[in-house]
Assembly symmetry: C2
Homo-oligomer: 247 residues x 2
DNA sequence: CGCCTTCTTGAATATTATCAAAGAACGTGG
DNA sequence: CCACGTTCTTTGATAATATTCAAGAAGGCG
């Protein structure tokens, strides 16, 4: 229970009571393994579950009829996958594992227990869901209005900021288990241009690469380049109800 | 109270009880007018309120340091503005009126009452917030992976679909109170290219224009063009708690 | 009627995509 | 442990889409 990245991630924002932790741990009771590149579900599958990521990275994507693909979210350990699909009976994207993964499925109505018994967790989930909305809007700005170099900077900073939540001592280096085609599908470029642009960032001394390991050698420069704001570090919890799980 | 577009919009998805309607109507007690092109708030203003749109259109936008602008959401009557900012003390975008508008500000913690007294409304708001997330992800796909013609089709269909919620008999024609520069800032193009692409859509017989009035003369063609899915018509409400406002 | 904003149109330019091929990395099986 | 096939990355040449710049037309408002 204490090794749950999900609990760690939520615990970053508020001090969780024992009861709250127990409620959350119950969500991760079930567990499933997927190998590298496995498809967890496809577009418009019947939508029954959320998933919490325990180990490995995954991504949600939408395909266009002609084969173009858009990755709409890269998921890391501790992430909750599928909240947007709460509103629909069928999935609105497909889910695929980047590397070997362990994820915990939970039924759509598992949230009920949280909603009824833990108002403070409800407020937190609601807040984080809206926080993610802001993250998407800023991603939209990056993709719609920035050039390849700026988009790539934004992409790398976003991933690093998220890893640091569960991994505070991470430093400026991390493993990036995505191919350049997958990076391209995330930020709206081609694999070829991602290669060229990564090369340029490297020559400019802003990043360094070693296999699938990325180091942000000039993080302030990258931040400046794309006006990055870290939305993950802190959220406003002041208006939350006090922690009485029983209510 | 019955003339509230917000209540009409929510009422589209579930049958609201009298108590629920009263709770919602209370949110719109306060009311403010803004003239065309007025700024309601700026980026990083202290964030105190949500807003419900009563009349007119507005948009939320983010500027880049060099003057590039991204409009992240166009707001229509009945829309709730500012939910994403719930997570932060300062606004993450600016808000501007397209035309003369009437909006109802309400404090951040006005949601408390809803959360505590109306579980079904809570579920609906949570669901609609996540529905919007899906809408953004599909917008992301459009902007990242589609060309100008497809993006424009997506943009027009999105606006029309939303208007039809409060306006079921609307047909295929509506007023579009945005300049081409503003359209460009919404879908990541330049005003010049919007002009050229609108002209092309018109010559192709897919749309017609008359002043700021747009008619979708070949809506199936537009839908086909950008693989549009109407996410506004229906959401999954089956898992909602039953309507006992008192609880 | 005249000014100001918005829209249209054309020409030149730039960024990114497409195509193609070679090189590197990786896993697998002999 | 090396050979081989596969996937991923790099690099160069060419093409396409969208931008930038500029100027004229149209439309709304005082």
């Amino acid at each position: 229970m204490t090794d749950s990245c999900f609990i760690a991630k939520l615990g970053h924002y508020i001090d969780l009571s024992t009861e709250e932790k127990q409620l959350l741990a119950a969500l991760e009771r079930d567990e499933r393994d997927y190998p590298r590149h496995a498809t967890v579900y496809q577009y418009e599958d019947v939508n029954r579950s959320f998933h919490i990521v325990r180990r490995g990275w995954l991504y949600s994507y939408i395909d266009l009829p002609d084969g173009r693909r858009q990755i709409v979210r890269v998921h890391q350990p501790g992430d909750l996958i599928g909240l947007p699909d709460l509103a629909f009976r069928q999935t609105t994207s497909a889910l695929r594992a980047c590397s070997e993964t362990v994820i915990c499925p939970m039924p759509k109505n598992a949230l009920d227990t949280i909603f009824r018994r833990a108002p403070r967790l409800t407020a937190l989930l609601f807040t984080l869901s809206n926080r993610d909305q802001v993250v998407f809007l800023e991603l939209l700005r990056a993709i719609a209005r920035m050039d390849a170099r700026e988009r790539l900077a934004h992409f790398l900073l976003d991933l690093a900021s998220r890893l640091r939540i569960t991994n505070p001592g991470m430093g400026s280096s991390f493993r990036l288990p995505l191919s350049q085609q997958e990076i391209a599908d995330t930020i709206g470029l081609t694999n070829v241009y991602v290669s060229k642009t990564l090369g340029r960032l490297e020559r400019d001394g802003m990043i360094a690469r070693d296999g699938d390991r990325i180091t942000l050698t000039d993080e302030p420069g990258l931040v400046e380049l794309c006006s990055f704001v870290n939305r993950y570090q802190q959220v406003d919890t002041e208006w939350f109800p006090i922690s009485d799980t029983a209510k």
